[in-house]
Symmetry: C2
Subunit: 349 residues, 2 copies
């Protein structure tokens, strides 16, 4: 008899987005960046493979000192305020382990990133979710939220709406525990909360390299927080969590901000054009600060759109959740991919 912990036995587990088999798909379901990473990332990886890959036999820098320094300089913090991670998922996981024990509560907005729930279940922590109001504020957020952590995905996934810094400044003092602003998509937005970490002791900002830096395949994330929080996360993480190639990729990506700006502009331009075209077709498309949009057809029958596109080998994201089933989330690909998608949507009618 295997005696798994009850919370592990009972939980369903997170199901990552569907990846189609075979060729010819236009993949707009995982919010991947349509452009390759900076050429300097590939150069850095190749350079690390010098001498027949001899470096790979040696452990990486357990403290990822170089990339922390680069990120710290970029964001205007001391390196003791920065931690790198194996995707921002690792940070979300370890923040729960740092602050919320079994039976402790964590909170988040529903809908938002669907991984917070499973992460809390793994820990045996309790979950409390909050809805969103029409004007994109958290519904019924208490005067003081007593939970150990509140996760705020900004821009929201999958809606794309952003929470302003003014609003985050309202929330931070109302959180008795920590407020984690999960900025996975924020590089595509006009504003971000990074500077607020100086000001609010309980504020943590997390980022991923998967979207804006086109490095979903390399699993890199980072967080900015007080040194006490970084030190706690450093205790919890596997000491060698980032491999050598991920480390040099992170460093090169952070250093090439020109390339980042160039691809961001392309994606954002395409997003604005595509959103406007969809609106002409009668869709409701609220402004998005991310590399996806949430598109609501006039008849609110989003499944029909999903299935029509699927038949054309265009994959977008449909959520059966009653809160979301009236729209589809469409990642922003290249202009050509979006033109193709638009044509297919027109044909669906």
């Amino acid at each position: 008899m295997l005696n798994l912990r009850k919370n592990i036995k009972d939980m369903a587990g997170y199901v990552p987005g569907f990846q189609p088999e075979g060729e010819g798909w236009t993949k707009l379901n995982s919010n991947e960046n349509p452009y390759p990473p900076s050429p300097k990332v590939v150069e850095a990886i190749i350079a690390e493979l010098v001498d027949g890959g001899g470096n790979l036999r040696k452990y990486p820098d357990a403290g990822s000192k170089k990339s922390r320094k680069i990120a710290a300089d970029l964001y205007g913090y001391d390196p003791s305020w920065v931690i790198m991670a194996n995707g921002s998922d690792e940070l979300l996981n370890n923040l729960i382990r740092a602050f919320a024990g079994e039976e402790d509560e964590i909170g988040y907005v529903n809908p938002s990133y669907s991984y917070y729930g499973p992460l809390a279940e793994i820990q045996g922590a309790k979950i409390r979710t909050f809805g969103l109001t029409e004007d994109h504020r958290i519904a019924d957020f208490p005067e003081i939220y007593e939970g150990k952590i509140f996760f705020l995905t900004s821009p929201n996934a999958p809606l794309g709406c952003c929470f302003s810094n003014a609003y985050i400044e309202e929330l931070a003092p109302r959180c008795k525990g920590i407020l984690v602003v999960d900025e996975a998509y924020v590089d595509f937005a006009a504003e971000n909360a990074m500077e607020l970490v100086h000001k609010y002791e309980n504020l943590v900002v997390t980022r991923t390299f998967s979207k804006s830096y086109s490095l979903a395949g390399m699993r890199i994330g980072l967080a900015v927080a007080r040194p006490e929080i970084v030190a706690a996360l450093d205790k919890i993480r596997d000491h060698y969590h980032l491999d050598r190639l991920a480390l040099v990729a992170a460093e090169a990506a952070l250093l090439d901000q020109d390339y980042l700006r160039m691809t961001l502009k392309k994606v954002c331009d395409t997003r604005e054009w595509f959103s406007a075209e969809l609106r002409k077709l009668g869709f409701q498309v609220d402004p998005s600060g991310a590399n996806y949009i949430f598109a609501i057809p006039e008849d609110r029958n989003a499944k029909r759109i999903y299935e029509g596109l699927y038949a054309e080998k265009i994959l977008v994201r449909y959520f059966s959740d009653p809160l979301l089933q009236h729209g589809v989330r469409i990642s922003i690909g290249t202009h050509e991919e979006m033109a193709l998608t638009l044509k297919a949507i027109s044909a669906i009618g």
Copy 2:
């Protein structure tokens, strides 16, 4: 006021082995393999970087299906019995999360891998350690061990002694929880417990690619266990824990068993020769099944050996722990490195 969990606040955190700055060091302190990984590993990584690194923008296979299949075929299991991981450290961590909650007990041998303790502390689990007898059995192991997990490092770190399959077959039925045989170094040994997983429901075998496959820099490990245990670990792990380059590296390394055998033979031959030479110098060197030896000088003043070698820029591992301070752990490098070390040890006298 930051409200970290008490166990996190109180714990010291794991300190990885010292990595010297500057050039000219002979590094025999981290049990890294002196030989580069298989050339096929480097080829596979380069191939994955095709089209200007365009693949890196896409998520990796969350299920690492290809490498699980290769490992399963290699070890004679169905793929549902295999899980890949970001180093075997991730597996040790997630096994605790699967089976031991706050206040539950886990056990291990002291001395052995010094990371089990911090991993238990992160979880808030209790720790019970057991000594070793002169003939390398666990001292005072109860008729039935009631803890949730028992970790057995075989070969033992840092002593190098192996626990026979016969002994593991004795232990498995005496563990009420699971028995994890941590075979980080087992490729350098004559026997391993992999086949026993078929036989004992509560047995888990973990492996790392850091030592025998020369891939410490790539963070890859695997475990073989019943499908129920693999499924639990699959729920707990970050869904995209392995990046694309680590995945292709794992696949290529597993497929090149000829290269593995060749480097293993070189390391083991060097180990036997070096051990014999040290014995001639009066050291006690027990047989090792790993890529290191534990060498005890006649005067049992191991710190003197460590410091003498350090002065010659040869780095070995000295443990201040009273159980271990009579010896030094020396990783097996190339024949040339070990000849240099031997010469330096002779000079220390």
